[in-house]
């Protein structure tokens, strides 16, 4: 896995150029200029947009400002999804920069989770890490870590510190030599067209005959309707599913 460090770095440092524009109905004291930012794919909107918030609040009155939320072409953006996932789901076919609209009023209670502090993001992130480890190691690795190790994972993400993050995350990516892989692969399949937010099932990395499962095997098993005959080339890409799971640098789903 250390040979794949380049891939890990590429995933970690992936960026999406984004243009933030204030929603036209927000009440301002002067004109609000758009704000441009390179967003990290592996992070969360509310974690990396403090500057965006400050920029727009400068032209607004205090009483007009409540919880910030983001929207793309009328769809509220779920801050608890990684930014890269949001982009791939909603805007991957459009030209860059990605245009996101910023709101400070009328928070959509039925669509979005609240995010009143960084604690909320940390709790969500750690819950994802823990659930992934429940699948990979029956929670043994995550539970054996000290609280300061958990904190280091979070701080690594928050401060964009690759080495700091991976010093701890590599333990979550290992398995004992006698095993041939994780117990189950943590994955979620997101489709923009369904009401159901994602598909998640138990899936082993090794088939009963001992051969490694591929990404194509997983897709066929989990959502056969998504794989049409034209798309069968994907199942012939013999991507070792263990590799895919190991290189997902925020240890989770996409």
């Amino acid at each position: 896995m250390t040979d794949d460090k380049d891939v890990l770095r590429d995933v970690w440092f992936g960026r999406i150029p984004t243009c933030f524009t204030l929603y036209q109905d927000e009440i301002t004291e002067r004109e609000a200029e758009p704000y441009y930012l390179l967003l990290p794919r592996i992070s969360y909107l509310t974690l990396v947009t403090d500057k965006v918030k400050k920029h727009f609040q400068k032209v607004m009155r205090q009483e007009e400002v409540s919880e910030i939320w983001f929207e793309y072409e009328g769809t509220p953006l779920k801050w608890h999804y990684p930014i890269g996932l949001l982009f791939d789901l909603h805007a991957s076919n459009t030209a860059l920069p990605w245009s996101i609209t910023v709101h400070f009023k009328n928070f959509p209670e039925k669509d979005l989770l609240h995010c009143h502090s960084k604690d909320v993001i940390e709790a969500h992130f750690m819950a994802c890490i823990k659930e992934a480890d429940a699948l990979k190691h029956k929670s043994q690795v995550i539970n054996e870590m000290q609280k300061k190790d958990h904190k280091q994972l979070w701080m690594g993400l928050q401060n964009d510190k690759f080495e700091q993050f991976w010093a701890i995350n590599r333990k979550l990516m290992e398995y004992p030599p006698e095993d041939n892989g994780f117990r189950y692969i943590p994955f979620r399949i997101y489709q923009a067209t369904t009401e159901r937010p994602f598909i998640q099932k138990l899936f082993r990395p090794i088939a009963s005959g001992g051969q490694l499962h591929t990404l194509g095997d997983l897709l066929k098993d989990v959502c056969p309707s998504a794989v049409t005959p034209e798309e069968m080339w994907l199942s012939n890409l013999r991507i070792d599913l263990r590799w895919r799971a190991e290189d997902s640098s925020d240890d989770s789903w996409n």
């Binding site: 969500h124 819950a127 699948l135 029956k138 054996e144 609280k147 009401e195």
Partner: protein, 264 residues
């Protein structure tokens, strides 16, 4: 009469504290002798069976639970909606107090014991809150998980702080130890909408205090009834005593197949 607070459900035992705290000073390790995951895991098929029994009994006693199936993947969840009346104490200027108000305050049925604010002249209003509870299966933790949402009659949803505040008094200490690990807002995995969830990793702690041995020795009981009657009251959901009468059907061939699964 306030639901969820008085005697129609069993008194909950206090969760074991000292042993676990000693072993986990500064660490989050749960000693392997107490590691809950394998001992208390529930297979999805059995989850569905127990839910079916649960709904059947609920229909008999009019307890309001129903099973909802997701048409895409065929999985589903238990669902129940009920209304709870909650007393809210609003401090009032003493000068505004009329004798009528004072009488109302004295006669209002309150959960908590009287404190200074109430003696000083506090107006009590009753608020109706609509609770919706869902029981889903977590394949990651292999346990049921309790999701819920709550709003006032005007549609305003309760905040996380309000939810934490409404956790039953018996469980407040536990909650304060780690609120972010206990109840948070999450996306409902089937509906995709914001719900509050009682974290499953803590479920095993609650369950282990109720069962006297690993789950495999308790297979004759209905897991949903045991689990829900333990964790439900934490968030205002009571399970009437009559559920204790429910006995799952014995199926010896299923049992032996499952004991082989346990080994993997």
């Amino acid at each position: 009469m306030l639901e969820g607070t008085s005697g129609d459900h069993p008194v909950q035992p206090q969760p074991r504290q000292g042993h676990l705290e000693q072993m986990t000073q500064g660490r989050v390790q749960i000693p392997s002798s107490m590691a809950g995951e394998e001992d208390f895991f529930l297979e999805e098929k059995r989850f569905k069976q127990h839910c079916e029994e649960f709904v059947k009994h609920s229909q008999q006693i009019g307890d309001g639970w129903e099973w909802r199936t997701n048409k895409d993947l065929g999985d589903g969840y238990l669902s129940k909606t009920h209304f709870q009346v909650r007393n809210r104490h609003i401090a009032q200027d003493l000068r505004e107090k009329t004798s009528d108000n004072i009488e109302e305050t004295l006669l209002a049925h309150v959960e908590e014991s009287l404190d200074d604010s109430q003696v000083a002249g506090v107006c009590t209003t009753e608020e109706v809150i609509r609770y919706e509870y869902h029981v889903l299966y977590s394949s990651s933790y292999q346990v049921p998980v309790l999701y819920f949402r709550a709003c006032f009659l005007d549609g305003r949803p309760l905040t996380l702080e309000e939810i934490w505040g409404s956790v039953h008094a018996c469980y407040q200490d536990r909650l304060q130890e780690g609120p972010w690990d206990t109840i948070t807002q999450q996306e409902h995995p089937i509906l995709g909408q914001p719900f509050f969830v009682l974290h499953p990793c803590r479920t095993n702690e609650f369950i282990s205090t109720v069962l006297t041995g690993p789950w495999k020795h308790n297979r004759h009981k209905n897991y949903i009834i045991l689990w829900l009657s333990t964790v439900g009251p934490v968030v205002g959901l009571s399970v009437p005593l009559s559920y204790a009468k429910v006995a799952p059907e014995q199926n010896s061939s299923t049992d032996s197949a499952e004991s082989n699964e346990n080994l993997c």
